[in-house]
């Protein structure tokens, strides 16, 4: 089984409440090494490692840091996105609970690389229970002198899935409604409070200390050509062993859900939560990579007893509620999805509904302002492709005669 522990290395090994325990396990050695490197050298290592964002978008991390470092101006920001709200996602929660010091060290390294003196660790309010531990980890690191010249603020959200989207997240830190911004400009050019900003996912950052300590060649030795390293995946649903697994990129979905998590009689899996893709059981040998299918990591498994239409209906209900409302394709489109799926759920689908779903999907994919609206059609499009009969069975029979 291609399980390797890079981001999970310290789970159950290091005491998440005691920095001394972390220090005994190579803690802050990477920061020490990074402080003796130039900004360009740190960034070159990240680029050479091939690390790509682990929050779902997969943007090359080193490139993001480089753009921000090179942007004009003295004020730069780092934001760690711990607003993990995707349905079925709990891998960041698991990392925050078990290894906060790695994250603190990573944030310090990143700040030095990009030239930021202020960083925010944005945590969703549903993870309030881990807030004190995070603040304490920052405080312990500060007291030991590891955070000289850097201010890390733990900032709590207030309950909004869309604030996991980086521009809505920035608006939220600025104290506003979490609405998505028009892009360009992108955050490395104009981000938080208008300044160049790096926004990285928790798991992305958790890779940084070991990349610095062990070197980019070591990290690039794992995975495929375009997908280096490992991925933390949170598996839930119809499985014997739900939990967080870390797989080398390129491992197959079958190895994960059947081999490790103990799934049986799989009908389909949802990879990437509500905005994720629906993969039928026949495609479980697909490898988990950015070039095939990966997402932020949530994987929910559905066995043969599950109703496809019901799952899609519940998913679009979620998306309609969480839409920020700013752009019409998403705001109106997700509502329309709900109205149509409700009909199918009740066995009252209309013949014209399937065409409407397809045409609406195309519009939303092309025209929505952010990933929520662009990916909202995914469950609809995928189930129409792989489970067409589930829809056709629910079309209301017209009485003849």
């Amino acid at each position: 089984m291609p399980e390797i522990k890079i981001v999970l290395k310290n789970v159950g090994v290091v005491n998440p409440k005691d920095i001394n325990s972390y220090i005994q396990h190579d803690g802050f050695k990477a920061l020490e090494k990074a402080l003796a490197m130039t900004q360009a050298a740190i960034i070159d290592e990240l680029k050479a490692s091939g690390l790509r964002g682990r929050g779902g978008a997969g943007f090359p991390t080193g490139m993001k840091w480089e753009m921000t470092m090179k942007a004009p101006g003295d004020v730069k920001y780092l934001i760690c996105n711990a607003d993990e709200g995707e349905v079925g996602a709990f891998k960041d929660r698991y990392l925050l609970e078990n290894d906060p010091f790695t994250l603190v060290e990573a944030m310090a390294i990143t700040c030095h690389a990009i030239g930021a003196k202020k960083a925010y660790l944005y945590v969703r309010e549903e993870y309030h229970f881990v807030l004190d531990q995070l603040k304490d980890a920052v405080s312990q690191a500060d007291k030991k002198g590891f955070l000289k010249g850097i201010n890390i603020e733990v900032y709590e959200g207030a309950g909004a899935y869309v604030c996991g989207e980086e521009s809505a997240l920035m608006d939220s830190i600025e104290g506003k409604r979490g609405e998505v911004r028009y892009k360009p400009p992108f955050p490395p050019v104009r981000g938080l409070f208008g300044k160049p900003t790096v926004i990285d996912n928790v798991e992305t950052l958790m890779n940084v200390p070991q990349i610095i300590l062990n070197g980019s060649k070591w990290y690039a030795g794992f995975g495929t050509e375009k997908s280096k390293g490992t991925k933390a995946l949170s598996v839930s649903g119809d499985v014997k062993r739900p939990g967080v697994y870390e797989m080398v990129l390129g491992s197959t979905m079958r190895e994960l859900v059947e081999g490790l998590a103990g799934a049986e009689n799989v009908k389909f899996i949802q990879v990437g939560g509500a905005t994720g893709r629906i993969v039928p059981a026949s495609s479980l040998d697909t490898p988990l990579t950015f070039e095939t299918l990966l997402s932020a990591g949530p994987i929910t498994v559905f066995n043969q007893s599950r109703d496809v239409i019901d799952v899609v209906y519940r998913t679009v209900e979620f998306l309609a509620e969480e839409s920020c409302g700013k752009c019409t394709p998403c705001r109106q489109g997700t509502e329309t999805f709900v109205q149509i799926m409700e009909r199918f759920d009740k066995g009252q689908g209309k013949e014209s509904d399937i065409l409407d779903l397809q045409s609406l999907s195309t519009t939303m994919i092309l025209c929505s302002l952010c990933g929520l609206g662009q990916a909202a059609p995914n469950p609809v499009v995928d189930t129409l492709q792989h489970f067409r009969s589930a829809y056709e069975e629910r079309i209301a029979k017209v009485k003849v005669g």
């Binding site: 993990e84 349905v87 309010e125 229970f129 309950g159 104290g175 506003k176 949530p298």
Partner: protein, 150 residues
């Protein structure tokens, strides 16, 4: 009052360092809700349109413009919890509390709500009561959990 509102509308420059969200969260945590008066007062203090402050107060699911019970129960209704019988938990709570969804018990002790994925899918079905998370639930476990809250 109307004169202040007029000036707030015409020149809504935000006060330096004003973080309306932090202010509203503070108010929510202290009083259990954010009143319209407080929204209007905040708008006046920061020279913002009332609608803009109201827009923040109504955007986030942990902020409320209505007073709820002393303890808010949020049952996750998302798909992974649904697969593990969250509906049984909802029905058991409705029965124990004698309320429907979005209602508060007569003694003001609990408000029952549904919420979206709270990231406890490895311990589903799961709920939050205020900021406390409870997972691996069965209807039988609920009585002891509810008893902890006044």
């Amino acid at each position: 009052m109307s004169e202040t509102n007029k000036s707030a509308v015409h020149e809504h420059t935000h006060a330096k360092d004003a973080n309306v969200l932090e202010l509203l969260k503070e108010r929510q945590n202290k009083f259990g809700y954010i009143s319209e008066d407080f929204i209007a007062e905040t708008a006046k203090n920061f020279n913002m349109p009332v609608g803009e402050v109201y827009g923040v107060a109504t955007f986030y699911s942990f902020l409320s413009t209505k007073l709820k019970g002393r303890n808010v129960i949020r049952v996750c209704r998302s798909v992974p919890c649904f697969l593990k019988n969250s509906e049984m938990i909802v029905n058991a709570l409705k029965k124990q509390l004698g309320t429907d969804i979005d209602e508060t018990t007569a003694d003001n002790r609990f408000t029952l709500e549904l919420t979206n994925c709270i990231g406890e899918c490895d311990k589903s079905p799961a709920i939050m009561i205020n900021h406390d998370v409870y997972g691996d639930l069965t209807p039988e476990k609920l009585t002891a959990i509810l008893a902890k809250y006044e």
